[in-house]
């Protein structure tokens, strides 16, 4: 008897799996709808950014669907949680693809991004990243993987920041404090390379720290001993805050700059006067995060408050990256035409040259480069933790890029083309 119960248990569970999904001919595409997967950290330490991105993404989808969808197809978003954990991320992506998502978008965590990257290439599924910034997702370039979040990856960011360190801040000895994870190490490598190539300069000292630690006395002391006149702090908000504060508490007098992980609302509230004069990188669409006057920022903010309410991390400026990336996807879907295939979608993305999608920087992809935008924004923190946009225009010069942006300009239209999606009616 017992054994039969056990058999029942086994068989039941095992067979309960196949009923978790539906298959389609061109995966995820019917003449009614297109299924787009979105993977982001929805639980765990990075949740607020992940949820922020997802909400922005859904906002753009709603907008497009309200305008009748694309070629008569409504967009359906399937969100999955990556928990900012590579293993979970891989599982989630496998699930999305298995359940026949036409394309995948999102992922805020770089550590997850590099874990899932090979899958898209193997399964030939288009991926448009937003939020994650490790340069490994686009260099070396993969056929199916794009980075479309409105600002560049860590390669350009690091080159730009390095330039800023030396030319604007006149740094001589740089201490680089980074979290021992993909984000930190990728920024470390890129910045090191940039300093070497541009100014033949080495870090005074590079100091890793582990997530969850709260005593950074050792790191700060070493930076001081190395006589650093600039300390760059990578990693995420909590650790970043503690490092900056402990540095000042230990009487570190030099300049402090911060990596992309720090540029969230929470940081500015918390850092207060300790942050004065601190320079931060920014990953959201250029010039717009804290530019309250910008109509698009206003609009996205209002709408996300209207839909997802206010609260911790809501509205979140990562709404903008999510919104932006969906607009990119939408435009590509439009260009791919009525009889949609994954390959057509990929090619459509690569035809986008200086396309204004109605928010942030114009998008440019090419068969040689899958980074949508090659510039970065920096800003400085003023009294009371108010960030001010720095007028530091930095696009990395061609010879410093692994691939030339536009080898054949003549094959592209002149000037900026405005995407029809930019002008679809806004939501009320």
């Amino acid at each position: 008897m017992k054994r039969w119960i056990m058999i029942g248990f086994l068989v039941g569970l095992v067979f309960s799996i196949p009923w978790m999904a539906i298959a389609a001919k061109v995966p995820g595409v019917t003449d009614k709808e297109i299924v787009i997967g979105n993977i982001n950290p929805l639980t765990g330490g990075a949740a607020s950014s992940g949820i922020g991105q997802l909400n922005g993404f859904q906002l753009a989808v709603e907008e497009i669907n309200a305008a009748g969808g694309i070629h008569g197809r409504k967009i359906k978003v399937v969100p999955l949680d990556s928990e900012c954990n590579p293993t979970k991320g891989v599982a989630a992506v496998r699930k999305l693809i298995g359940e026949g998502a036409f394309a995948v978008t999102g992922e805020y965590c770089s550590g997850v991004a590099i874990a899932i990257n090979p899958i898209f290439e193997k399964e030939e599924v288009p991926m448009v990243y937003s939020g994650c910034v490790t340069s490994k997702i686009v260099y070396p370039m993969l056929k199916w993987v794009f980075h479309g979040q409105g600002s560049s990856n860590l390669r350009d960011l690091s080159w730009g920041t390095a330039k800023f360190f030396v030319e604007k801040l006149g740094a001589k000895k740089i201490a680089f404090v980074y979290q021992a994870n993909e984000l930190g190490e990728n920024e470390l490598e890129n910045t090191r390379e940039a300093l070497k190539k541009m100014y033949n300069m080495e870090f005074a000292v590079a100091l890793p720290y582990n997530m969850g630690d709260s005593d950074f006395t050792a790191q700060v002391t070493k930076a001081k001993d190395a006589g650093a006149d600039l300390m760059h702090v990578g990693g995420l908000v909590r650790e970043g805050l503690l490092i900056v504060r402990q540095a000042r508490e230990l009487g570190y007098k030099g300049k402090i700059t911060g990596g992309t992980g720090l540029s969230t609302g929470g940081f500015f509230e918390a850092i207060g006067d300790f942050g004065i004069g601190m320079v931060l990188q920014d990953t959201a669409p250029k010039y717009e995060i804290f530019d309250i006057e910008n109509p698009m920022v206003k609009y996205v903010k209002e709408q996300s408050i209207k839909r997802y309410g206010t609260g911790p991390g809501r509205p979140n400026h990562k709404n903008l990256t999510g919104y932006y990336s969906m607009k990119v996807v939408g435009e590509a879907l439009r260009r791919a035409g009525k009889d949609l295939t994954r390959d057509k979608f990929r090619k459509a993305l690569e035809t986008m040259y200086n396309v204004d999608i109605g928010i942030g920087n114009p998008v440019t992809f090419s068969p040689w480069d899958h980074e949508a935008v090659h510039s970065l924004a920096l800003y400085v923190i003023a009294t009371g933790g108010v960030p001010l946009k720095l007028d530091f225009e930095c696009t990395v010069s061609e010879e410093n890029l692994p691939v030339p942006h536009f080898p054949k300009p003549e094959m592209y239209p002149k000037g900026i083309t405005r995407s029809p999606l930019a002008d679809i009616p806004k939501l009320k």
């Binding site: 765990g44 709260s214 050792a218 908000v237 504060r245």
Partner: protein, 288 residues
């Protein structure tokens, strides 16, 4: 010069670890349960403060009190959920139970308060004061002071109150003390409530130092290490915490920053293997 500076700083971080570790120690002494949820209990303390003080605009002192009550209550509940039902079950069940309770709290916090970093402005200035080459802040002194104060409080409680005596009796020998009419169950709840209170105190007082975030509970693993190094005795935990911080920082500066935390784990192993009772610790109850 550095050394002196490091040791000075380590005093304040060491007392943070000790304060966080103390709750663990109390529970372990009384109930033989390692509370893997202590970190989350401590985090709750901080979040209660945020809620009452920042959100509900209740005056600090009252908010402090309320968060203590709230966390103590949570501790009480945890004992009922993760400890009492498993008294007869094998050790690892209680380990998992406390751990899972921790995860539940962690996720609950995230759903209620979100994952954004919160901060409360420090009550004591953390502007650097420099005496000669040594630099410290008023906050450092404040932390050491309050830690000392609360540990003294716990000590006095254990020494001079009826419950305290019952507690010590239980931690030494359950059967005997239950025969002597000590209500072991009562002591169990007490120890968890107390560690709840301590967690709240730590959470509230360290909130401005550690930043309030769902992940702030991680520091509990240091408190845990402090407890082991100190052999799960109350004075031992203080010394353990301080030793941990000092060794970590000195190692970090002079040997390797990357492996800084490695030292604490090696310390745990060394202490357990060489002198399992810890520095000035209680005797190890080895199951034979």
């Amino acid at each position: 010069m550095d050394i002196l500076q490091l040791i000075l700083k380590s005093l304040s971080y060491g007392s943070i670890y000790a304060l966080v570790g103390l709750g663990l120690v109390l529970i372990f002494r009384a109930t033989d349960v390692l509370n893997f949820g202590q970190g989350q209990l401590f985090t709750m303390g901080a979040y209660f403060l945020v809620t009452f003080w920042y959100m509900c605009k209740i005056p600090y002192a009252l908010a402090f009190l309320m968060s203590i009550v709230g966390t103590a209550l949570l501790g009480f509940v945890m004992e009922r959920v993760a400890c009492r039902p498993l008294l007869k079950a094998p050790v690892m069940n209680s380990i998992i139970a406390t751990f899972m309770t921790g995860i539940v709290i962690y996720n609950a916090i995230q759903l209620i308060w979100g994952a954004e970093v919160r901060h409360v402005s420090p009550i004591i200035s953390n502007k650097p004061i420099s005496a000669g080459k040594i630099i410290f802040t008023a906050q450092d002194i404040w932390i050491v002071a309050i830690t000392g104060f609360f540990i003294l409080l716990v000590y006095l409680f254990l020494q001079f109150t009826k419950l305290g005596v019952a507690f010590r009796a239980t931690s030494m020998n359950k059967q005997a003390s239950s025969l002597m009419g000590v209500s072991v169950k009562k002591v169990f709840s007490l120890s968890w409530v107390m560690s709840g209170i301590l967690a709240a105190v730590a959470g509230v007082l360290l909130a401005p130092v550690l930043m309030i975030e769902v992940g702030m509970g991680w520091v509990a693993i240091k408190g845990f290490a402090a407890g082991i190094v100190g052999g799960f005795s109350i004075p031992g935990t203080i010394i353990g915490g301080f030793l941990l911080a000092a060794v970590e920082n000195i190692f970090g500066v002079y040997v390797s920053v990357a492996f800084k935390e490695m030292v604490s784990f090696l310390m745990i192993l060394a202490v357990l293997l060489i002198k399992p009772s810890g520095l000035l610790g209680i005797e190890v109850k080895k199951r034979v």
